[in-house]
């Protein structure tokens, strides 16, 4: 077995944590459609509630990225940008990157990082000096 069996029924939820000036959004390993759908709302609500310069979307645990998931991620990044923030996608596994590319999905212009650590370094860099929305 390559991955341990998870008991069914355990809720796999998105976690949103504020780390300094950044929102860290962590996806569960195999989110169902309603969970993926909740990504946009959770993320944008958190953007609205906290003063942050950007968002790191942690895909370290994610096992597959199908077209629906990829589209939601790309759209969320676009919405975050409209709100004045930047999204960096972090930690995509090799198998996920290979499969998503073969499937034909694209994440648009969204920046990516090898891991969360590097992503946190990237947020706010190569952008306007003070991209804050509110005083």
């Amino acid at each position: 077995m390559h991955s341990p069996k998870r008991p069914e029924g355990i809720a796999e939820t998105i976690t949103v944590t504020k780390v300094r000036e950044v929102l860290l959004v962590t996806m569960p390993s195999d989110p169902d459609d309603p969970t993926i759908c909740a990504l946009q709302e959770k993320t944008l609500e958190a953007m609205d509630q906290h003063t942050v310069t950007g968002l790191v979307l942690d895909l370290t645990r994610v096992e597959i990225l199908d077209s629906y998931f990829a589209r939601t991620v790309a759209e969320t990044a676009q919405m975050v940008e409209l709100m004045g923030g930047e999204t960096i996608i972090a930690g995509m596994r090799p198998a996920v990157a290979i499969t998503a590319t073969e499937l034909g999905v694209s994440l648009g212009r969204t920046r990516t990082a090898l891991n969360v650590d590097r992503a946190l370094d990237m947020v706010g860099r190569a952008r306007h000096p003070k991209p804050r929305r509110r005083a």
């Binding site: 077995m1 390559h2 991955s3 069996k5 998870r6 069914e8 195999d30 989110p31 169902d32 459609d33 309603p34 096992e63 597959i64 990225l65 199908d66 077209s67 629906y68 589209r71 090799p94 198998a95 996920v96 290979i98 499969t99 998503a100 073969e102 499937l103 034909g104 999905v105």
Partner: protein, 135 residues
């Protein structure tokens, strides 16, 4: 652990897509597929399972372990009694969509698998069979 040779999972609500995906992941891993091959199979299952839910309102995914000429493989069959596909060639074209998606479901799934067959007629439903052989 002895593996069951075949089985089926009903796809009626959105969450069933995730249940089917998790089942396919465990079956593929037990059949000895590697991490990337398993990700390809699971991603294809996710696209085809979502089609069943989105276009036909529900259906069933059947799976079967294959053994032919000393090669092992996995066959997945997605059956629905929905509206059917009027023009299969057109549906296989890159970028074709009728459901507001990205139009990569069928051609994308075909790229991820080794074989694909589609049987469909308007009014009778659709059956999509995909196979993956172990390298």
């Amino acid at each position: 652990m002895t593996l069951q040779e075949c089985g089926e999972i009903e796809i009626n609500v959105e969450h069933d897509i995730a249940i089917a995906r998790r089942a396919v992941r465990d079956i593929a891993a037990e059949l000895g597929f590697g991490v990337t091959e398993t990700a390809r199979i699971v991603t294809a299952a996710s696209e085809l399972g979502r089609n069943v839910h989105k276009y036909a309102g529900g259906g069933v995914m059947r799976w079967r372990a294959l053994n032919k000429n000393e090669r092992n493989g996995l066959e997945l069959s997605f059956e629905d009694h929905g509206p059917g596909i009027a023009d299969v060639d057109e549906a296989m074209r890159e970028g074709h969509t009728t459901g507001g998606g990205l139009g990569m479901g069928l051609p994308g799934a075909k790229r991820l698998m080794d074989e694909m067959e589609i049987n469909s007629a308007p009014g009778t439903g659709t059956t999509v069979i995909v196979r993956k052989w172990r390298r």
